[in-house]
C-alpha cells in the first residue's frame, strides 16, 4: 500500500459518516493522527490506558513502538482490512515517521451489557450466568467454565461488505477431528461470504436448508455449551449473538439437557424418560385422535368409542378439520405470546384460555376431548429439550396428522417410520443424526 495514500483512501471511503473522526492526539509525547469511529471507541479512556502503560518510560518513538507491541494487532493491513478493523472498534494511528498505519486496540464505550443471568433458559440446578453479545466476553465465559489446556479457540472474520467475527471453540482431545476440519475448511473457504444471521452461518457450514429438526444446539448458558464441548461437539460463537451454537446436533439432544447431570442419576433417568414420553405424545396424539375418531374407531373399546363419539356430538365438521383448526389457533397463541412484551402476554393467555377452554366447547365447535388432547400434546411438546427442537416437533405433528387422516393407523405408522427414515438419512458435518455420541465414528441408535 502506498504509504501516503491510505489516509486519503480511508477518508474517501468513510466520508459522509458523521461518527468517523480524525483526531490529533499525543501518544508517548508525540502528536499523531488518529482514525476511528467515535461511536464505538472511547478515545479519552484509551489514551489514559495507554499513558498508564507508559509510566516510567521516556516518551519517544521507542515508547510508541513498545506501545505498539502491547496493543498492535496487524502488521501490514490492506485497505479493506483496515476498514474492517476500524468497523470493529479499533484505532488506526499514523506512524509519525514512516507514515504507515498502525492498528491499536481501543477501549469500547459502554454499549455492551454486562454478564447477567439467562433469560430464556431456566435451570433449577446449575450455573445461571449467560452469554452476552460480546464475543470476547463469551469466549472468556467458556474459558472460565473449562479450565483445560486443550481448549482451542480459532477466530475468523467473515464477510466482504460487512464484517462478522466468528469463533470456533473445541477441545482438542475430545472433539472429533473430522468435525473440526469440516468446520474450519468451510469457514476458510467462504471467508468472503457475508454472515448476517445464524441462517447464513449454517448455510455456509453446509447444513441442510430445509431441515425438520435443528441440526445444531443453541444455548445461552456457558455451562451447557461447555458440556457440549466435553461431549465432543464444536461450539461456534458469533459476535453480537448471545447464544452459542454447538454443532452437530444428534438425536440425543432432543431429550437430554447437559445440566441434567447436576442431579442424581435416578432423577436424570426419570427426567429423560418423561421427555421421551413427551415427544411421543406431542407427535402422535393429534394424529391418533383423528384416527380413532374417523378412520379406525373400531380400535377402541366399545365403551370408550361411544364416549368419544358422544363428546363430538353436534360438532359440524370432520375430526380432521376440527383438529387442524384448533391446532392452528394454538400455534397462533404460542407464536403471539413468544414475542409480546411481558406486560401484554398475560392478556393473550387469558383470552386464549377463555376461547380455547370454555367458549369453543359450549358453542359446539369442537369436542371436549379434543381440547384435552391438544392441551396434553402442547404441554408434552414443551417438555422437549431445547427450544429449537420443540419447533421441529410442532411441525412434524402436522405430517402425522395429514397422513393419518388419509390412511388411519397405517398412516400414523408410516409417518413415524418416515420420520425415523428422515432422521436416519440426515448427516451434518460427517456425523449422522441418529447417533448416540458425536465422538466415535460408529453410529447407532
Amino acid at each position: 500500500m502506498a504509504t501516503r495514500g491510505w489516509e486519503q483512501l480511508l477518508v474517501e471511503k468513510f466520508q459522509g459518516n458523521a461518527d468517523f473522526a480524525i483526531k490529533q492526539a499525543v501518544i508517548a509525547g508525540r502528536a499523531v493522527a488518529v482514525y476511528m469511529f467515535e461511536s464505538i471507541v472511547d478515545l479519552p479512556a484509551t489514551l489514559e490506558r495507554m499513558d498508564q502503560s507508559l509510566v516510567g518510560l521516556r516518551p519517544d518513538i521507542r515508547a510508541l513502538e513498545q506501545l505498539a507491541d502491547l496493543y498492535r494487532l496487524r502488521a501490514d493491513p490492506t485497505l479493506t482490512e483496515l476498514a474492517h478493523l476500524l468497523l470493529q472498534g479499533k484505532l488506526v494511528i499514523r506512524h509519525p515517521e514512516s507514515g504507515e498505519p498502525m492498528v491499536f486496540k481501543a477501549e469500547p464505550p459502554a454499549i455492551t451489557r454486562p454478564v447477567s443471568s439467562a433469560e430464556n433458559e431456566n435451570r433449577i440446578q446449575g450455573a445461571n450466568d449467560a452469554f452476552t453479545e460480546e464475543l470476547q466476553i463469551n469466549i472468556g465465559l467458556l474459558r472460565k467454565n473449562l479450565k483445560r489446556q486443550d481448549l482451542m479457540i480459532v477466530k475468523y472474520s467473515l464477510g466482504s461488505t460487512s464484517c462478522r467475527e466468528v469463533a470456533l471453540v473445541y477441545l482438542r482431545s475430545e472433539t472429533n477431528p473430522e468435525i473440526v476440519r469440516a468446520v474450519d475448511d468451510r469457514l476458510k473457504q467462504n471467508k468472503r461470504r457475508d454472515i448476517r444471521q445464524v441462517d447464513d452461518l449454517l448455510g455456509l457450514l453446509g447444513h441442510p436448508r430445509f431441515a425438520l429438526v435443528a441440526t445444531y444446539v443453541s444455548t445461552e448458558l456457558p455451562e451447557e455449551a461447555a458440556q457440549n464441548l466435553l461431549d465432543g461437539k464444536a461450539v461456534l460463537l458469533l459476535d453480537q449473538f448471545p447464544n452459542a451454537l454447538a454443532v452437530p446436533a444428534i438425536v440425543r439432544d432432543v431429550w437430554s439437557i447437559k445440566t441434567d447431570h447436576n442431579y442424581p442419576q435416578t432423577y436424570l433417568a426419570f427426567f429423560r424418560f418423561i421427555r421421551l414420553i413427551g415427544i411421543v405424545f406431542a407427535i402422535v396424539m393429534p394424529g391418533l385422535y383423528v384416527v380413532l375418531n374417523s378412520v379406525n374407531p373400531e380400535l377402541l373399546r366399545i365403551q370408550l368409542a361411544l364416549s368419544v363419539a358422544k363428546s363430538r356430538e353436534g360438532v359440524p365438521y370432520p375430526a380432521f378439520i376440527e383438529v387442524l383448526l384448533m391446532l392452528l389457533v394454538l400455534e397462533m397463541v404460542i407464536e403471539a405470546t413468544t414475542r409480546l412484551p411481558k406486560s401484554i402476554g398475560p392478556t393473550i393467555t387469558m383470552i386464549g384460555g377463555i376461547i380455547l377452554g370454555q367458549a369453543i366447547v359450549q358453542a359446539k365447535l369442537v369436542s371436549n376431548l379434543l381440547i384435552i388432547i391438544l392441551a396434553a400434546s402442547t404441554i408434552a411438546n414443551f417438555t422437549v429439550a431445547g427450544y429449537l427442537n420443540t419447533i421441529g416437533i410442532r411441525i412434524f405433528k402436522y405430517v402425522v396428522l395429514f397422513v393419518s387422516a388419509a390412511f388411519g393407523i397405517l398412516g400414523l405408522e408410516v409417518a413415524v417410520i418416515w420420520m425415523f427414515l428422515y432422521f436416519a438419512g440426515l448427516k451434518t458435518l460427517t456425523v449422522p443424526y441418529l447417533s448416540l455420541s458425536v465422538k466415535g465414528s460408529k453410529a447407532d441408535e
Binding site: 379406525n296 377402541l300 405408522e413 408410516v414 417410520i417 427414515l421 436416519a424 441418529l434
Partner: protein
C-alpha cells in the same frame, strides 16, 4: 456398519418374513412334527450362511456383484446373478402384496388398494435410494420402537394355549420334504443373503451373529407354535394369517384398544418396510453395477413403478400363492448356488494368493 446394526438388521429381515407367510407355509407343509421342518430350515441356513461368509471373507470390502464380476468376468456375473435379482424383485412384490392384503383386511377395508400400496412402496424406495447406512440406522430405530409390539402381539395370547395341541411331537417319515410349500417356507431363511451386499471391510463372522440367529430361531418356532397351540393343526391350517388370528383370541381389559390384531399388523408391516428397503437397495446396487449403469434416483423410479404395477396385477390370494410357489425356484437357486459359488471363489482366491 457396526456389529450391532448388522445384527439388528439381520433379525428384522428374518422377522419380516416370519411374521408374514412363514407360519402359514409351515403349517401347510406338515400336519405333525412341525419343529422338524423348522429345524431343517434353520440348519440349512446355518450351513449356507457359513459357506457364504467363508467365501466373502476372502474379498474384504466387496459385494457379491463385484466379487463375481472380477473373478469370472462381467457376462458370467450377469448370468449368475440374474436369477438372484429376479428373486429379490419378485420377492418384494409378493411380500408387500401379502402385507397389503392383511392391512386391507384388518385396518383399511374401504381404502383403495393402489393408494395403500403407493404409500407402502414409497418408503422402501426412498430408503433404498438413501443407501444401506441409512437403512441400517432406520432399522435400529425401528428395532427399538417396534420390537415391543412384535413381542407383545406374539405372546399376549399365551393364556389360550392348549398344550395338548403340541402332540404328536415326533414324525418319522420326512414326507413334508416333497411338499412344495416346504420350499416356499424357505423364503424366510434367505435373509442371510444381504450380508454379501454390505461390503464391510472387516469380514462378518458367523460367530458374531449368533445372538441374532438365536433370536430369529426363537421367533421362527414361536410364529408356528403360537397359532398351533391355540387352534390346533386342523383349524390353523385354514387360516391365511395364523399369527394375526392368534392375537385376536384374547381380550385384555387393561389395554384401551379392543382390536388387538392391529398391533400384530402394525409391527409386521413396519418390519416389512425395513425388509423391502434392504432388498430394493440390493436390487438397485446389483442393477447399477451389472446391468443398467444409471443414476440411483432414475433406477429407483423405474424399479418402483414396475413393482407397483406388477403388484397391482395380482388378483386374489390363490394367484399370490401360485407366484410364491413359482419364485421358490429362484429363491432356492439364490440360497444354494450363490453361497457355493462364493465359497469356491474364496477358496480359489486363497489358493492363488498363497
Amino acid at each position: 456398519m457396526s456389529k450391532r446394526l448388522l445384527g439388528a438388521l439381520f433379525v428384522q429381515i428374518h422377522l419380516a418374513a416370519i411374521l408374514s407367510f412363514y407360519a402359514t407355509k409351515v403349517i401347510e407343509t406338515t400336519s405333525s412334527g412341525h419343529w422338524e421342518a423348522i429345524a431343517i430350515g434353520c440348519l440349512l441356513e446355518l450351513l449356507l450362511a457359513w459357506l457364504y461368509l467363508k467365501g466373502l471373507s476372502a474379498f474384504p470390502g466387496r459385494h457379491i456383484g463385484e466379487i463375481i464380476r472380477e473373478t469370472v468376468g462381467a457376462w458370467a456375473a450377469r448370468a449368475l446373478l440374474l436369477p438372484f435379482v429376479a428373486f429379490l424383485f419378485f420377492y418384494v412384490i409378493l411380500q408387500s402384496r401379502y402385507q397389503l392384503v392383511k392391512i386391507n383386511i384388518v385396518m383399511l377395508p374401504s381404502t383403495p388398494l393402489w393408494a395403500v400400496l403407493m404409500l407402502y412402496m414409497a418408503l422402501p424406495i426412498y430408503a433404498a435410494v438413501k443407501g444401506i447406512q441409512t437403512i441400517a440406522r432406520l432399522g435400529a430405530a425401528l428395532f427399538l420402537s417396534f420390537m415391543p409390539f412384535v413381542v407383545f402381539s406374539m405372546f399376549i395370547s399365551y393364556s389360550n394355549f392348549e398344550w395338548r395341541n403340541i402332540f404328536p411331537v415326533w414324525r418319522s417319515d420326512p414326507a413334508f420334504l416333497a411338499q412344495p410349500s416346504f420350499y416356499t417356507s424357505l423364503f424366510a431363511f434367505s435373509g442371510f443373503l444381504f450380508l454379501g451386499m454390505v461390503s464391510s471391510r472387516k469380514p462378518v463372522k458367523l460367530r458374531k451373529l449368533w445372538p441374532a440367529m438365536a433370536l430369529v430361531t426363537v421367533f421362527q418356532f414361536a410364529s408356528v407354535y403360537v397359532p398351533l397351540l391355540i387352534f390346533g393343526q386342523e383349524t390353523a391350517a385354514r387360516f391365511q394369517y395364523p399369527v394375526t388370528m392368534a392375537s385376536d383370541t384374547v381380550d385384555l381389559e387393561w389395554v384401551i384398544f379392543d382390536w388387538l390384531p392391529t398391533f400384530s399388523v402394525v409391527s409386521s408391516s413396519a418390519l416389512g418396510i425395513v425388509e423391502s428397503s434392504v432388498r430394493i437397495w440390493m436390487i438397485l446396487t446389483l442393477l447399477r453395477k451389472l446391468y443398467l449403469p444409471m443414476g440411483d434416483k432414475w433406477l429407483a423410479g423405474l424399479v418402483g413403478i414396475a413393482m407397483f404395477f406388477l403388484s397391482l396385477r395380482i388378483h386374489g390370494m390363490q394367484m399370490l400363492d401360485r407366484f410364491f410357489a413359482l419364485s421358490a425356484t429362484l429363491c432356492l437357486y439364490s440360497m444354494i448356488v450363490l453361497p457355493l459359488v462364493l465359497a469356491l471363489l474364496g477358496r480359489y482366491k486363497r489358493r492363488s494368493s498363497g
